[in-house]
Point group: D4
Chain length 167, copies 8
């Protein structure tokens, strides 16, 4: 889905090891048919690349940036410092503090430079895409239908689980 249309969502991660988590973001974006692009950009190892990417993202037509990072996790915040686009952050569950350090580092942004933080790990990755789609649906109303379908599907899944434990 990437290069066919101009991407609306940019998915950035600090390392290829984050991709295992961020596959969940990609899955949802593809499921909804959202044009997107994905990049490995490190705030600490490739700061210039990050600044360049973030500063031209808006004029390239991107509308939302989803940033995943573990450890000190400066990627989402530094991206937000260089763009007017809304930035969502996904804390990666690291081995040491189970993502708590990234959680703090991503969410505790100062007045004036917001990042919307999702849950740690794969649930957060999945939800980052979904929150992005909810944002986009205000402008691209064709996504609304599919959001309703997902809601129906979630109800079905719970009903199935309920049946399963009661038979």
């Amino acid at each position: 889905m990437e290069h066919i249309m101009n991407p609306l969502v940019g998915v950035i991660m600090g390392s290829i090891s984050d991709f295992e988590t961020m596959k969940n973001t990609i899955y949802v974006l593809e499921d909804f048919g959202i044009p997107y692009e994905k990049r490995v950009i490190s705030a600490h190892r490739t700061p210039n690349l990050l600044f360049e990417y973030a500063s031209i993202a808006e004029e390239r037509g991107l509308e939302i940036l989803i940033c995943a990072a573990g450890g000190a996790a400066h990627l989402p915040g530094m991206t937000a410092s260089k763009t007017n686009l809304p930035v969502l952050g996904v804390p990666i569950c690291s081995t040491v503090f189970q993502g708590m350090d990234s959680f703090f580092s991503i969410s505790q942004m100062p007045k004036g430079v917001p990042v919307g933080t999702l849950a740690i790990g794969s649930a957060g990755a999945y939800n980052a895409a979904l929150l992005a789609i909810k944002m986009l649906a205000n402008k691209y109303s064709n996504f609304k239908e599919k959001l309703n379908q997902l809601r129906e599907q979630q109800i079905k899944e719970v009903e199935n689980m309920n049946n399963q434990i009661n038979t």
Copy 2:
């Protein structure tokens, strides 16, 4: 700015005591001229009211909901469970765990029902409005200009602070 135009942003808080924090949200929305409405709705004391509010928010023309809550802080998550609109959550800094409990409760949402969590307390309240505006600016491009001005103003402020400690 309320009521003149159809509100685009709904600001909900679980108690009037959260208003001290959420004044920062209101301040930013008014500063940008975003039509909004504000409500005290408690997830636990007025669950029906919350469900009604959340389920008709979209058809009433609201585009983003900002929810603030302290303690167990179920308000943002339960709002998200009843609407396709994007929901942003602001953890209130409570007396016991300094907002850590609300922080977890708001952000650790399960796959399928996202909430974008901001920093705890007044910085988060301020940033929730700003993140909402960044979202809206994709659709209502007239807000872009003011976002750039804010950015310029922030640079000025830092320069002033720098001058202040060096004179």
Copy 3:
């Protein structure tokens, strides 16, 4: 034991994955011969179902609700918001914060909407049933005998363990 008599205890869990933990609740209820029912109901994915279940639980003759949830864990609190029945909450030990997030989210309820929180994981699941039975035993005194037996059995178990390490 389900369905033969009118259930006194409703056991609700947010996902089928919680059942591994909540088997401990079921085990105790069956051991004491308490009529019960079990349901998968998600606060976030099936909010209407939860509200319906909770709001008619009392008139259906249920006397206690035991709710298990992980992550943001809004299930126990939202159930409590819709019923006069006592609600007990079991935090599920999740992979990220070992249940700490659920622990906070379940117990830190605001004034007016109580949830009695048990220990995280299987011990809490086992004890939720036992606490429910202690409550019921005030009204249904026939459960008292079995509570005493359990107490005797626990003493025996400790004596056996003591013998084991001293032989």
Copy 4:
């Protein structure tokens, strides 16, 4: 309300300094007209007194015990070890860990000896009484009416707060 009728609820606290918090429990019990008694009993300084109190509480006609303690907070758990009555625990917000230590100590009870833990501090104290009343209401249905009134009153309060921030 004490002493007129046989007390149904025993409120125990580890020190007189906990009374500031536990006044909230007393307030609710009196408001509902629940006969109760209150005691200062320390698990560590008066262990024999605690054991005696807990072991005859049931035959004295008490139906629920509410225990408050700070720091190591062994009072609720040790009470539960000596009675078949349901025990609710209220962690007192201490100066050092803001009640986190008591929170763990009260809730992390082993399989077989349950304590239902409420929120830390005054909200937990208030809710302990309310949860006790919800339990009692299954047997003494006359308390149900007042529970419904409280619910109505809570809705009113939220509506008032909403009016207040919108005028």
Copy 5:
């Protein structure tokens, strides 16, 4: 070494599952030739047994009690409440909070009822015995020699490790 001489040290643990950790305590006591006894006694499941054991420990000739417990971990504190003997506590590393809950519960004792807390898990178990021996050595000076030997041995071990990484 247990029953030959009158035991000086009593090693108590809340469950047989703690024995894996407490083997380290036993190992040191046997290595130093300290007469000891070991018991499984549960504060919550066998409170009477604990009270009886603790209240006659002194007159039975015991001089130090080492108590191990996990979870809510009331064993060391309740033992201390019933004896004038010094009590040392070993937090067991549980699955949920890695012993943090036991750590708080054992160490945060109120003014007047002390417990000397050691490190969590096997290091703490080993050190509890060693601290007990250091206490006993003030009275039984024959243990001093062996304490010096252990110190020499520790130096040797470090030297060996140093040689190992440098060859």
Copy 6:
């Protein structure tokens, strides 16, 4: 009481600011008539002094060392590394982490070098003295009487508190 008899207990603190807390230790030692000495010795600023003090403490006739420290709190552990005497540690409640950092630093000692850790702050300071006295009472049985009196006094205090809230 210092200097008249040969001191049995050495009370060391890392800074004079810890004295406010450690007055509680002194109070108990004086109340029991235990000969003691008190010193300000800093592990980091006066390491040689610490090593000298600790290495000759035993031959000077001291039998127990009580060490208080805040922040990184290396004083108790380094003292223990230089003496066969039992060492008790009191974490000082610092402004930043409320003594949590000191708590970890004092208690998490490696296999072979034990420190018995007390509660954070003034309760721990009081209890360090009391635990020291319980140790000494095995050798100096004249302290036993006073320990029993303290126990009686504690019971009285609780009874008084109980009377106070019931009148």
Copy 7:
């Protein structure tokens, strides 16, 4: 001391509110006669300024950068990403998490981009300067003398405190 000689140490802080803490850094640098400069530069509000400052710091003759930041605290890490100079980080003690969030964010840097983290708050600010001086002293041996004097002075201070509590 600024501007007279070419500055060797650059002290950067994210906001003027950090100056209260960072005065301790300045104090030590001036006391040792280290030429320095101080700047308010915000990673989030003035990212370009930060990048420019950091990327030319080395060629301007600076040898060490000391960065202070609170909250998400990206300043030290992002500075390190743009220079070969050693970077030291001082977590500012914020109101919400007492600097814990900054602590994690500054220290948990990924492989390849180091920041040396000091203690939270004023002690860390003081020590950052001292650690910088210890580094510089390897090259500028004239600072060694004063380091020894400081050491002597610290010993004196402890001796004075000791005298104070013993008179």
Copy 8:
């Protein structure tokens, strides 16, 4: 590389089990051709050895000391108390608190005795060497070239990762 030139960096660890982590330090030092030495020295088991090593390190020509320790982790701080050389600390990721205890113990040093703390575990070990090299490069400018190369290499690695997820 060790014994050919006079070592500039001393790498000390508290136990041979820390070597698995500290191999990362060695790797970087060797890669840059920095003369170094490595030692197992335990603050608690070999305090005299530590004091001797630290007090003559400077006159032996060492310029930086890197200290690794787990648990109570007094090694870096006590080393710093005995030398004017800059000391860097690496918290080892222990089994119990995932290195959090070491993290606090190493970084929360008092005013006057600084330790520069790196990230927990292998990333911190790697970065300790790199930070040491950045310090040395101010004096030994021949290391600057290689620092630039490493920076280029890091950019390459990120580019490669980016290509990998986009093909």
